[in-house]
Symmetry: C2
């Protein structure tokens, strides 16, 4: 059986959804490694819509996370509420503020955040299988909610975000863009990507390494 | 001076804008080659908005091509009407229906299509400099409008599109996804990418080759 990885998207566009470049590089890295993937997202309304040219919230505009995620996935995306955790060998969360605005409310509530119900249910059920999960950019802020206290993870070196993660019970480790952090016990890999001010090729190096590490871990390593 | 390439986007999402994966792979390939790029797009309303989950037109919804392109470009995109062709060493058009719905009306009018004014003005002025241009997926349908008759190009092997291109005065050449077609006289490179039913890694192979060929041509080869 071909290895199959779930890629959890949070919309399309880094200011209100999934970071597009990180999502595409994740999919490309998986396909190049000969691994199949299935994109999924929650079928919910986005926290808001941000005009990516001005950075301003587009008042009154509404978009759906699953529908927008379909833009990155070329239509092939499923509702995470309908996904079966047992069908996958690994799960990867690309970043983008959508991970902290739609998959959770970390962008608004920080250490007091909670995770969207369908996402939390899928992720916790998957974590219970002991199979590996990868987290890119801001998405490691989901880890304490999924795994409980004392999980090691990175979002790069942003002090405020690191402090909030530690308040939630996580153990933040500083990490450069071309590297990743592994929690061997929980089988979690994380890499900062665009949490740092980097070029696309630098983000790609870290994401490819994370993807390859996650794939390696699906083989029992 | 670092080589600088204009990347012309047509929105964000392959059914009504730029093909996201092709756009990201183009940018990644340029950055990996040590070449800088500037994304640009026309500041116009999209022909329409398509729900990428259902494939249906989202009646009453309106989006702007430049604003949506900023999602792929991480905000760094300029209005093509304000871009100076003399500042660039090459131009690349990723694909997506946006190239045939927003940059031109080929998707509606086929051989009778015309190109959006700002895009045509920039592209013709750039073509007059004799510097190289690359076209991915459906965007080679712009070539006869920019270069006039007898330019060699490919959109893969779609018979109807090829016929329309030939009616416009182009010379369509069938081409597999991992290859490209060069018109040496006009210094144009084209590759089919997602005009064919392929995996992301296959599209990436062709796009990377196109990008590297275009960069090679900026060095006078």
């Amino acid at each position: 059986m071909m290895t199959k990885v779930a890629v959890v998207l949070s919309g399309s566009g880094f200011l209100d959804g999934a970071e597009i470049q990180e999502s595409v590089i994740t999919m490309l890295s998986l396909d190049r490694a000969g691994v199949s993937y299935q994109c999924m997202a929650p079928d919910i309304e986005q926290l808001h819509v941000v005009n990516h040219l001005t950075g301003e919230v587009s008042e009154g505009e509404r978009r759906n996370v699953l529908v927008e995620a379909a833009r990155i996935a070329r239509t092939n995306v499923i509702d995470i509420a309908l996904a079966n955790p047992n069908e996958f060998d690994a799960v990867i969360f690309p970043g983008g503020y959508g991970a902290a605005k739609n998959l959770s409310d970390f962008a608004v509530k920080g250490a007091d955040s909670t995770v969207q119900t369908d996402v939390l249910q899928f992720a916790r059920a998957f974590a219970a299988t002991g199979k590996p999960m990868g987290f890119v950019c801001i998405s490691p802020t989901l880890i304490p909610h999924i795994y409980g206290a004392d999980a090691s993870l990175t979002i790069g070196s942003d002090a405020d975000t690191a402090t909030a993660i530690n308040e939630m019970g996580g153990i933040h480790v500083n990490c450069p863009v071309e590297d990743f952090v592994v929690d061997e016990e929980r089988r979690i890999v994380s890499t900062p990507a665009y949490m740092l001010d980097v070029r696309i090729s630098e983000a790609a190096t870290g994401i490819e390494k994370l993807v390859n590490k996650v794939i390696e871990m699906t083989n029992g390593k």
